[in-house]
């Protein structure tokens, strides 16, 4: 394994294939730790990690927190409402304040796209992106890809179908950049109001009809419909969405036998996926959560064992 060079993980678009493979190899070995009775290794003992969340999150934050603890790092959570991004103390002030504690890693989530790069000059700590607006959610894509690799043995030349609100989805963007490293053919599918402007320039195919494309997919990623981000303008009703884009028992019959169906969670059952097929779909989604922990341990390990540059 080549020595890890990256100080930060701001997006999958900054990672090459070799780096992705490093994460997967390491995640694989970390999975075993979580299955032990004593789930702790001393890899990051004495390191300080701050979960800096400006947007509500329980699952991602918990996953990062557990990952840090299992590596014996000291982890603290700093949560703040989104409103603090727009007035009073700026996020840069917050980062400078936390920098006074000399953390090794800051794990940042916030509701503004593509601004993490502008923060790195204000801290010596490594920054890991835990979701920045609609831009990227790199550890989600890493865990998705890891799950696919685990199930299929390889990530090469797959047909990957991403269904849902592509425009608002950082999960979609990170997965696109990731799977493209493996020459995958990616199709994004959803109502046209969910597909960003000139999105085909990303090198993806665009479909407005799930029934047309579902049968070719080796991997399907069903995105969460984020009702909190929906403007009435973009979707007339959930009923209409469900009719066209929900994974129903009928549509499930059309998918390839070895197709993997994933969801970043939490699932809105009967919106993205019919609850009638929950028993068939849910186990892999839970596996994603399990793998998420291993992937985040791998990422924290790679970033955290690098020396803190003074």
């Amino acid at each position: 394994m080549k020595e890890w060079q990256k100080k930060h993980i701001l997006g999958i678009k900054d990672l090459n294939k070799e780096e992705l493979e490093t994460v997967f190899t390491l995640a694989n070995s970390f999975k075993e730790i979580s299955e032990r009775d004593v789930k702790k290794v001393p890899a990051l003992r004495g390191k300080t990690i701050i979960n800096l969340f400006f947007e509500n999150s329980t699952r991602t934050r918990t996953s990062f927190e557990l990952a840090a603890k299992r590596l014996s790092a000291d982890v603290v959570n700093f949560s703040s409402s989104n409103s603090s991004l727009t007035k009073g103390e700026t996020i840069i002030d917050t980062i400078k304040t936390l920098e006074a504690y000399h953390p090794n890693i800051m794990i940042v989530r916030l509701n503004a796209s593509a601004c993490l790069q502008s923060f790195i000059n204000y801290t010596q700590a490594s920054i890991i992106n835990a979701g920045d607006g609609r831009n990227e959610h790199p550890t989600q894509a890493l865990l998705d890809m890891f799950t696919v690799k685990e199930a299929k043995g390889s990530l090469e030349n797959l047909n990957v179908l991403i269904v849902g609100d592509i425009g608002n989805s950082r999960v979609a963007r990170s997965n696109i950049f990731g799977f493209q490293r493996y020459a995958s053919k990616i199709t994004v599918c959803g109502p046209p109001t969910f597909i960003p402007y000139e999105f085909n320039e990303m090198g993806v195919s665009v479909s407005y009809n799930l029934d047309d494309v579902i049968g070719q997919a080796d991997v399907i990623i069903m995105l969460r419909i984020q009702s909190e981000r929906q403007d009435d303008l973009f979707l007339p009703s959930l009923r209409e969405y469900t009719d066209k884009f929900s994974l129903t028992p009928e549509r499930l019959k059309k998918v390839k036998k070895d197709c993997l169906i994933m969801h970043p969670g939490p699932v809105n059952w009967d919106v993205e996926i019919s609850s009638a097929i929950k028993n068939k779909i849910h186990p892999l989604i839970l596996k994603q959560a399990e793998n998420g922990l291993a992937v985040r341990m791998a990422v924290l390990y790679l970033i955290g064992t690098k020396k803190r540059e003074i």
Binding site: L85, T86, T90, I91, I92, D93, L110, A112, S113, A114, C115, Q117, S118, G133, R134, N135, E136, G167, N168, R170, R173, P196, Y197, E198, F199, E201, M202
Partner: protein
């Protein structure tokens, strides 16, 4: 008080005249060869160029309301450093400049400061809410020559129609910020593949041209004049070009950043909030269209859209930061660097776009040209001197500009306002 400028190249929009220029009291007293007069001050201007005082039709002075970002004094100092002797300040202040009391106060304050003329632009509608016209007549009497709800368009086309009609009575100019902010949808940059790739909320270029088209149609229908500010897209320019050829009384201006930067600079800045401006920076096609339109006269003037913002505001993430750059101190050098040195305009073009045309369009008299008898508002410039924009050299209270660190050509050496040297390098 007499000032003699020796051996200058006097630049007007149609000619460059090598001569001496004598200022007596507040007037240009005499222009001629070898004026030998005992002056109180002699400026040797060999190899320098002398321009009529620049006029900025679009400045934000943040007064009243955000005097921490700019006030009338700091804005005046920044303006004269940039060679401006007349600036028009936009009414999107807090409270808005929508009444004659406030307009009068600004004019009186600017006279007390005495560095240049500040002309408040009156709001078109009360509180800039788009609901009720302001008192154009009272505002005009207090000194407002034009009206704008800048920061937004007049949303309601009926209200715009009424404003254009009512403005005929006072022979005032309506200045429109062209943006359909419903289709801008709280965007932070130009909608393009890059905005989609990075998931950044974005403004399509048609947000501007939709309103340009609407406004031109209304102005044409009413046969009234209208002035469109900070034009930034190729599509808008096409519409304006056609309207002008049909005889519609439309005039427009652009700003230096629209011919100096593109959306690619936003990306290479890593979405630095100092690159966020409204209208947003366009693509290469827009930039070329703007240069062509400046050359052909489709775009009449260049304004700064000087928009000071505090450091903490510009420290916000790109999507949340406010729009705008400061521009008063850089405008001349940017025009010289990006248009004159690259052959789009010649030196006379600067006189046209920064002095003659703004004067004519905004309804100013006895200015915009170097002429005997005119008030002595003049700028002496070195067009070849290079300098690098540094934050510590900025006079404006706010330092938000994407040009920090850029090397530019052209330096203002003296600014003379009513016969007094108000700025000296």
């Amino acid at each position: 008080m007499k000032i003699l400028i020796k051996n200058a190249n006097l630049v007007n929009k149609d000619n460059i005249n090598k001569a001496d220029l004598l200022i007596q009291d507040d007037k240009i007293f005499k222009i001629g060869i070898n004026i030998s007069e005992n002056a109180d001050k002699v400026i040797e201007a060999k190899d320098k160029y002398v321009y009529p005082g620049f006029i900025d039709s679009h400045t934000h002075l943040r007064t009243p309301g955000r005097e921490d970002e700019e006030d009338l004094l700091s804005g005046s100092q920044a303006a004269v450093k940039g060679g401006f002797t007349k600036i028009f300040c936009m009414p999107n202040t807090n409270p808005a400049i929508d009444n004659d009391g406030l307009a009068t106060w600004i004019i009186e304050e600017s006279r007390r400061i005495g560095l240049l003329d500040i002309y408040p632009v009156g709001a078109i509608t009360q509180k800039r809410e788009g609901k009720k016209l302001t008192e154009f007549n009272a505002l005009k009497k207090s000194g407002c020559l034009c009206f704008s709800d800048d920061g937004s368009s007049v949303k309601d086309p009926l209200m715009l129609r009424k404003a254009l009609e009512y403005a005929k009575m006072t022979d005032s100019l309506i200045i429109e910020h062209c943006e359909d902010n419903r289709i801008s949808n709280k965007g932070a940059m130009r909608e393009c593949f890059i905005s989609s790739k990075h998931g950044i909320s974005a403004i399509p270029d048609i947000a501007e041209s939709l309103i340009v088209d609407r406004d031109i149609q209304i102005a044409k229908y009413l046969d009234t004049k209208i002035h469109l500010t900070h034009i930034s897209t190729a599509k808008s320019i096409e519409i304006i070009r056609r309207a002008k050829s049909e005889g519609v009384k439309v005039t427009c201006e652009t700003c230096p950043h629209y011919f100096a930067l593109t959306v690619d600079d936003v990306v290479s800045s890593n979405f630095n909030s100092n690159f966020k401006v409204n209208p947003p920076l366009g693509d290469k096609n827009d930039l070329e269209a703007i240069k062509k339109a400046l050359k052909e006269g489709v775009i009449d003037c260049i304004s700064t859209d000087h928009a000071p913002h505090s450091q903490s505001e510009k420290e916000l993430p790109f999507e949340y930061a406010p729009f705008g750059f400061i521009g008063l101190e850089l405008a001349f050098s940017l025009i010289n660097t990006y248009l004159v040195k690259k052959g789009t305009l010649n030196l006379k073009g600067i006189a046209e776009k920064l002095a003659f045309n703004p004067a004519k369009i905004l309804g100013l008299t006895n200015c915009g040209e170097i002429k005997e008898g005119y008030p002595a508002n003049l700028v002496v410039v070195d067009v070849d001197k290079k300098w690098t924009v540094a934050e510590e050299d900025i006079i404006s209270k706010s330092k938000n500009t994407p040009f920090i660190g850029k090397e530019l050509e052209g330096v203002i050496e003296f600014t003379i306002y009513k016969g007094k040297i108000v700025y000296k390098k």
